[in-house]
């Protein structure tokens, strides 16, 4: 299963090579051309396979999905052999305690522990943990021993396996980096289709640190239309005092179409394209309710003279945590909706 | 059974001063048991012998209630107090205390009265006295909260439901029990509210093979309650865990199987604060399989503890069912 391999591949922002190799292998035979650009984006072209039905329809369509995941980076060595670290991307500190991690290219196993509860006073336990007291422990007994196994700047991923939780109903699965390996897997699948326009697929880098890969990919490709595929915030979860707040998206209610997020106001015609396609094909869908998060579309729509852009997402519970949960049904429906919408796009967008 | 409950809950009996409650139970049990004795710590031990071949079972329901003890009488006759057990401070202001001899006093606090006190040190009681000399109470006197029994629809409210309702259930089970292979020791225990002390020594003396405490538990069914699955009116609760002990898995199974056999409603209980007599019974000698049958109760340790009458009746049926058959899990 490509999604499992993708989820378990290690690719923190700035170090996406392993994910890229996996994806290149997966799409190699369906594309005409590919290149890896200066930021490490994997740019693929699948040329039009049929004549354009509508000469006014887009000729160059760009779909992106980001390869990078949030993680940690080694920032120093302590005398006792433990490693200092910084966060790469938006991770909630409170998620870091008591976790297993893998460090660097050699995937050296390590753990992040915390002060034993026995040594924490009554008032201490009411506060958030003091992260300056944490470090990555790889079992090295000294600074020198650690430096033999790990280098400054080594990237660190969570040690989390992908697993289907249930084959029934919503077909939920857990794993790390589902934001945005779900998008990568959908995009790989979309490349199998044949379209009346040149389809550019960009597997982008550094989304989690500022939408940076998409920005340069958009510039090079200069598309007529752009769509970002994402794993997105899903807050259909218990709230304090049972407050009735927007869930943003809900697990199992289908792919989410964004009107906007924190980085972009989506092109209204593309929003309609997706929702109409879903209605026509009987694919369940939902709208993303709330402007939270940023996506590659935020960079794409501002490229050169501007590009009509939209976002299609798979709801992802516990996004940016060491382990997230998605519905494979949502994932499949997102892939279906994407393909159907691309076909419909061959007819062009309304003026 | 309501008359029995009323009599028990209205009786005076803070920890260590359970005499009045013991007298009521002893009178009710007289003639219905094979042996009745009071041990050194004041536990009332009522043995109902079995027909043989069964287990030696200890049932424990505590007679004591939370209360107050006078620690000082000031120049104007106000009395300062200490607690016996975990008094819910916020419920004290403006309520009344009753002493063993029937003396009544008003409870208040020196802070902004109606806001409730911060600590017990800020509370005092007013007996109507104007000086230590004319005070009807003296240092060391013990009081319970004064509040009568009421019926609110299908629910019963009073002080000291914790654990007179357990006493009532155990006593009623004793009265309702017919033939049983088991020797059942009904222990009406003392000093639970200060550390389950009565049950500890009773268990050592009795050496039971199996023990079940009958006590109240909290519920999660009031506005903005902490998450807890127990509700009033959904049947007796079978304890899995509380802050002091883990119920023996076998005893839990035995209780559940009996409830299912008798088609009685029941709920499973995980309580995050508080414990019961089973806590000290469990580690008596070389270990005793112990569990707890809980009666769901709202507003525990306040002057208005509330139970559901059907839960009470079903608790009796469950207990009788458990005790009347061979124990198995």
């Amino acid at each position: 299963m490509l999604l499992k391999e993708l989820s378990e591949a290690r690719g923190v922002s700035g170090n996406e090579a392993a994910v890229r190799e996996l994806l290149l292998k997966a799409v190699e035979n369906t594309i005409d051309k590919h290149c890896i650009d200066a930021l490490g984006n994997l740019l693929c072209l699948k040329k039009a396979r049929k004549p354009a039905a509508n000469p006014a329809a887009p000729q160059k369509v760009l779909i992106t999905a980001h390869m990078d995941e949030v993680g940690l980076i080694i920032s120093g060595f302590n005398a006792d052999g433990t490693l200092r670290y910084e966060k790469v991307g938006g991770i909630d500190n409170r998620m870091l305690l008591s976790k297993q991690v893998l460090v660097g290219e050699k995937a050296v196993p390590g753990v992040i522990g915390y002060r034993p509860i026995h040594l924490i006073g009554r008032s201490g336990i009411e506060k958030v943990a003091d992260m300056s007291q944490t470090a990555i422990d790889i079992g090295a007994s000294s600074r020198d021993a650690a430096a033999k196994l790990v280098q400054l700047g080594d990237y660190v991923t969570f040690r989390t396996s992908f697993e289907v939780l249930t084959e029934d109903g919503l077909r939920t699965a857990k794993g790390k980096a589902l934001d945005d390996r779900v998008g990568c897997a959908e995009l790989a699948e979309a490349l199998e289709g044949e379209y009346a326009f040149d389809l550019y697929a960009a597997f982008t880098t550094q989304e989690e640190v500022g939408l940076r890969g998409a920005r340069v990919a958009g510039y090079s490709i200069n598309p007529d239309v752009a769509v970002a595929l994402e794993g997105t915030v899903c807050d259909d979860l218990p709230k304090e005092r049972d407050r009735d707040l927007s869930p943003v998206t809900e697990l199992g209610k289908g792919p989410a179409i964004s009107f906007r997020d924190g980085s972009v106001i989506c092109d209204r015609r593309l929003v309609t394209l997706f929702s109409e396609t879903a209605e026509q094909q009987g694919i369940p869908y939902q709208y993303k309710r709330g402007a939270v998060g940023g996506t590659d579309a935020g960079a794409l729509h501002l490229v050169r003279e501007g590009v009509p852009a939209a976002v299609l997402s798979v709801p992802c519970r516990y996004i940016h945590a060491p382990v997230s949960i998605v519905s494979l049904q949502d994932f499949d429906n997102a892939a279906r909706l994407l393909k159907a919408a691309l076909t419909k796009l061959e007819g062009g967008l309304e003026a | 059974m309501k008359d029995l409950i009323k009599k028990l809950v209205e009786a005076f009996g803070p920890s260590g001063y359970e005499d009045q409650v013991r007298a009521i139970i002893q009178a009710e049990a007289a003639g219905k048991a094979d042996e009745i004795r009071t041990d050194n710590l004041g536990n009332l031990i009522v043995l109902k012998k079995g027909s043989g071949g069964g287990e030696r079972i200890m049932i424990s329901a505590h007679m004591d209630e939370i209360g107050l003890m006078v620690s000082y009488i000031d120049k104007k006759g106000f009395a300062r107090i200490g607690n016996i057990g975990g008094i819910a401070l916020a419920t004290l202001t403006g309520s009344r205390a009753r002493f063993a001899d029937g003396t009544i006093a008003v409870l208040y606090n020196e802070k902004d009265g109606w806001m409730g006190p911060g600590t017990l040190a800020e509370c005092f009681i007013d007996t109507g006295a104007t000086s230590p000399e004319d005070s009807p109470v003296k240092v060391g006197d013990v009081a319970c909260i004064h509040r009568p029994f009421e019926e609110l629809g299908g629910r019963l409210v009073s002080k000291a439901m914790d654990d007179r309702i357990g006493c009532a259930v155990a006593l009623q089970a004793l009265l309702d029990m017919a033939e049983s292979p088991n020797d059942v020791y009904f222990v009406f225990s003392t000093q639970e509210e200060v550390g389950c002390r009565g049950a500890m020594v009773a268990a050592f003396g009795i050496e039971p093979e199996v023990a079940v405490a009958v006590d109240v538990t909290l519920t999660g069914d009031i506005p903005l309650a902490k998450p807890m699955s127990v509700e009033l009116g959904k049947g007796p609760a079978v304890k899995v865990k509380d802050a002091g002990m883990l119920a023996h898995p076998g005893v839990k199974k035995w209780m559940v199987a009996t409830a299912e056999k008798l088609a009685l409603p029941y709920q499973l209980e995980v309580l995050t604060g508080g414990t019961t007599d089973a806590y000290t019974i469990q580690t008596s000698r070389d270990g005793i399989a112990a569990g707890c049958l809980s009666i769901p109760t709202r507003y525990v340790h306040s002057p208005s503890e509330m139970v559901d009458y059907n839960d009470v009746l079903n608790s009796v049926k469950l207990l009788v069912g458990m005790l009347s058959a061979p124990v198995s899990w």
Binding site: V111, G139 | L268
Partner: protein, 357 residues
Amino acid sequence: MDTVALLRKLSQASGISGYEGEVRDIVRQAIEPFADEFRTDTLGNLIATRRGTEPVSTGHSIMLAAHMDEIGLIVKDIKDGFPRVTDVGGIDYRTLLGQEVIVHGQRDLPGVIGSRPPHVLSAADYEKPVPWDMLFIDTGLPQETVTQLVHIGDLVTLRREFLELSEGYVSGKTFDDRAGVASLAVCLELLASMKHSWDVYAVSTIQEETGLKGATVAAFGLNPDIGIAVDVGFGAQPGVSENESIKMNAGPALAIGPNVHPRMQARLSATADKFEIPLQKEVIPGGSGTDGWAIQVARSGIPTAVLSIPLRYMHTSVETMHIKDIERTGRLMALFISGLDDAFANELGLEGGKGAA
């Protein structure tokens, strides 16, 4: 004995306080060849007896205790298909976010302890921990299925693979106190090739984490002449100062304080010296929080010692230790036992063998 393999097996087994059955089976299997009798008492302690053999059993006995139970979670409520939990034993709830768990319902269900996404939280939210009452488990199953498969009181264990780090360090859940249990196994295996005249009760205790219950009743039942509790101690780690901790990979720590009989302490210390086993000292001014605290006051009182195996990140799911410290602890106990004689019994003022009665 392959200590790593045994610890791996013990660590990955589920055995929350009160429900230690799976661990008990593993322990029994591991030490089967080295004990004469096995017994499980009312509360579930596994008591392995190895009779003194050389020249004949004196009837004196020693009880070794290490606890099988682990800290964990228990379902206290189920709301909207999300089980809510509380802890069994002391868990720092702040270490639970983002953890994978197994809900032991009608069948074992994998799950995740999630929390609301950072994108919808305010800066102030990050400044306070997610409280117990807001911790929930997501099994990825629909509400109806959860209601069917999960009941109040079901146990939830942390799901954590055993991990070998560098230099002989290992990491996993519940080394507290499966490491101690492993050290008992090491000790018994060594004793099988040694001479000893005292009877040995190796007790894998239950419910230590919920109040030393197993050791309390086992010590009452066995009434041994002396006792040693093996538990884990706070190993030096980031965020813990030197005077709060013992050194890693430097042997067990022998407690000094009211919980330990001075002659037991002296004898263990001398044994370590004689056989050049690294041994640290740890001052414990009051309750040791170990089975030893209960054993010491069983019946008429029992001369007791407490050994702590250094462990980092205690009560998290990434407890970390050096495998050699387990072996050293087992070896120290075996050599101590093999040296027990009438002279030591006299030193302690023991009359005859209580165990013989």
